[in-house]
Symmetry: C2
Subunit: 367 residues, 2 copies
């Protein structure tokens, strides 16, 4: 029975169970057999077997060689996410560099490329880079399930970049532009804020920390707020603009029109020229975040990650001074696990996660 | 069949359906009949009738006189939340005043008392006030289902007040203290931050605004963050400490040990002596909130509500200057609907809401 020919209720049960089986394999490190999946999910062995067959046929699962026979009976073959099935293309565009990677269904980075650019050439260069990486994925036998782009700016839910001041973009229909690039034609394309995607990348790498603030220092500064394992996007999707939190109300003029924004004290170039001032300004703004949101973990990413040790003491001094609850429960500060790769990894992972969460949609056209 | 004698699954279905019927009556303005409730809920008329009988017997619903006969057939009697059933006692303790109210199941304030106090006498005075209001409720035929106390401080989920600096409290087991007060013995008692409860009170009064920041100006300043109709409490329940967001990093010393906290510029006495400075400081701190959380509605409550017109222009000027997305979508600023009553109303409503959401627990002891 295919998803499209089944009545709605039946098809949605099948979709649910396909996802359940796929997630069970994804979340376990022990390459479970069909029988083990039946035990974990509560589904019958016959149901599991039929679903597993569909997932193997659709290129989402692979059956591993059974272990050597050690006693009576035939050892059961284990199952794993397919390394040759659908993959996600993650793209990041920034003021001075572009990045692209391909992540397979199992979460492995299969291709990765980073290259310098300039705001004027960025879109053209991104097209070339995306085409190259897509071609490499294709040579590798991977099928791209979609592409996601990380942008340092305000993005609407449909992917329109309302403003990306450091790129000089305004009201750019980024999905349409990307969709016209060679190698990306016909692919589902999503666009999101780079700090949001970097925060998601970090979340996937450190599943033990479901609530944290991710701060991404580049030319501009953005933040991704992760609460209970989910990104908090805000009413219009424009949360996390920590770069424009006021640190010194009568301070340096910012290109946004205000004075004393964090970005004027802790942007990439300010960190290089005066790390002590940058750390103090970051500490003041981060104290506001903790006082408001009661978040216990702060992750420094982007350009902050490699200079974490230079910033740490200065930030922590401000947190101790300014966070009302610092004495009751200190704030943990740590560098991003993925470093500068976080945003493109987060982007690619959103594509892969969509397949994992809704495998029926991936299988439907083929069934 | 009573809740306690039924098997677990059956009893939980009954509990679910009791809540469904009660909420249906609560959420509709048209005093639906049993037949109408059956239509709205999809339950059979016989099931609805049995559940309604239990809810009437338990004092949660009342049957209204049927309207005059207008044609053939007997007009159906409408149902409404009982004004004589369980009620909630809401209490608020603050530096210079105490407040108490009793709210019935239908949400009507049945008793209300506000009286001045001092930090030294506050707990003693609260005991007297709570006893008086509880006695008045009892004379009125109401049964208190519980009490909730609003405190200007950091409260743990179990109701321990870790710190309430303006009251001089530290690690106070507030539920135990309240439980020993005459009139409150044996009642379920909960304790929460006053800005959180005020935000909940405001949410109940303005259901058209599910996401907003509530700022409560008293001697101290607190905030309640309401996202998609639910209070965001933070990792340890200590979110919303906007009074200690830094406005001027090298500014006035605060009793928390830091410099330049909002509380030093926009606390109750500062608003009275220099409303322009208070408005500007509030605007700077609120801009940080909007930049971080992308919240489009800010509600000014407590001591801010009566002087809203004096503060508005100064706050809005800072928001226009400092909120990155102000040009794309302006922030709405408005005074609290409930004014200074918000926290005690929110407290009483938490008790009533608990009964509405879980009527089976209320009926169980009597059945």
């Amino acid at each position: 029975m295919t998803a499209s020919s089944a009545p709605v209720r039946q098809s949605s049960v099948r979709a649910h169970n396909l996802a359940l089986v796929l997630q069970t394999v994804a979340n376990r490190a022990d390459q479970p057999s069909r029988a083990a999946i039946a035990t974990f999910t509560g589904l019958t062995r016959a149901t599991v077997s039929a679903l597993v067959d569909d997932l193997i046929a659709g290129g989402l699962l692979v059956e591993l060689d059974p272990p050597p026979r050690t006693g009576a009976g035939r050892p059961a073959a284990g199952l794993a996410l397919s390394p040759d099935g659908p993959a996600g293309l993650g793209l990041e565009i920034n003021v001075d560099y572009l990045a692209a990677c391909v992540v397979d269904l199992a979460g492995t980075v299969r291709h990765r490329a980073v290259r310098p650019t300039s705001p004027a050439a960025a879109l053209h260069d991104l097209g070339l880079l995306a085409g190259e990486v897509a071609a490499a994925a294709s040579r590798d036998g991977l099928t791209l399930a979609g592409a996601a782009l990380a942008v340092p700016g305000l993005v609407t839910p449909s992917g329109i970049v309302r403003v990306a001041p450091n790129l000089g973009w305004q009201d750019l229909d980024a999905p349409a532009v990307l969709g016209a690039m060679p190698g990306l034609t016909g692919l589902p394309i999503s666009v999101d804020n780079e700090a949001n995607l970097a925060a998601l990348g970090e979340l996937l790498s450190r599943s033990d920390t479901p609530t944290f603030l991710y701060v991404s220092g580049e030319v501009g500064i953005g933040a991704g707020i992760v609460l209970d394992g989910a990104l908090y996007r805000g009413g219009r999707g424009w949360s996390g603009e920590i770069g424009h939190v006021t640190v010194y109300p009568d301070g340096r003029p910012c290109r946004c029109g205000a004075n004393g924004c964090l970005e004027q004290y802790a942007g990439q170039s300010q960190v290089a020229s005066d790390p002590a001032l940058a750390a103090s300004a970051l500490g003041i703004a981060l104290s506001a975040v903790v006082n408001l949101l009661d978040i216990g973990v702060i992750v420094l990413g982007g350009a902050y990650a490699p200079v974490f040790d230079q910033l740490r003491d200065g930030i922590e001094a401000e947190l101790r001074l300014r966070v009302l609850t610092a004495g009751l429960s200190p704030v943990v500060l740590r560098p991003a696990v993925l470093g500068a790769d976080a945003a493109m990894r987060g982007a690619a992972d959103t594509v892969v996660r969509e397949v994992r969460e809704n495998p029926a949609a991936w299988l439907a056209p083929a069934s």
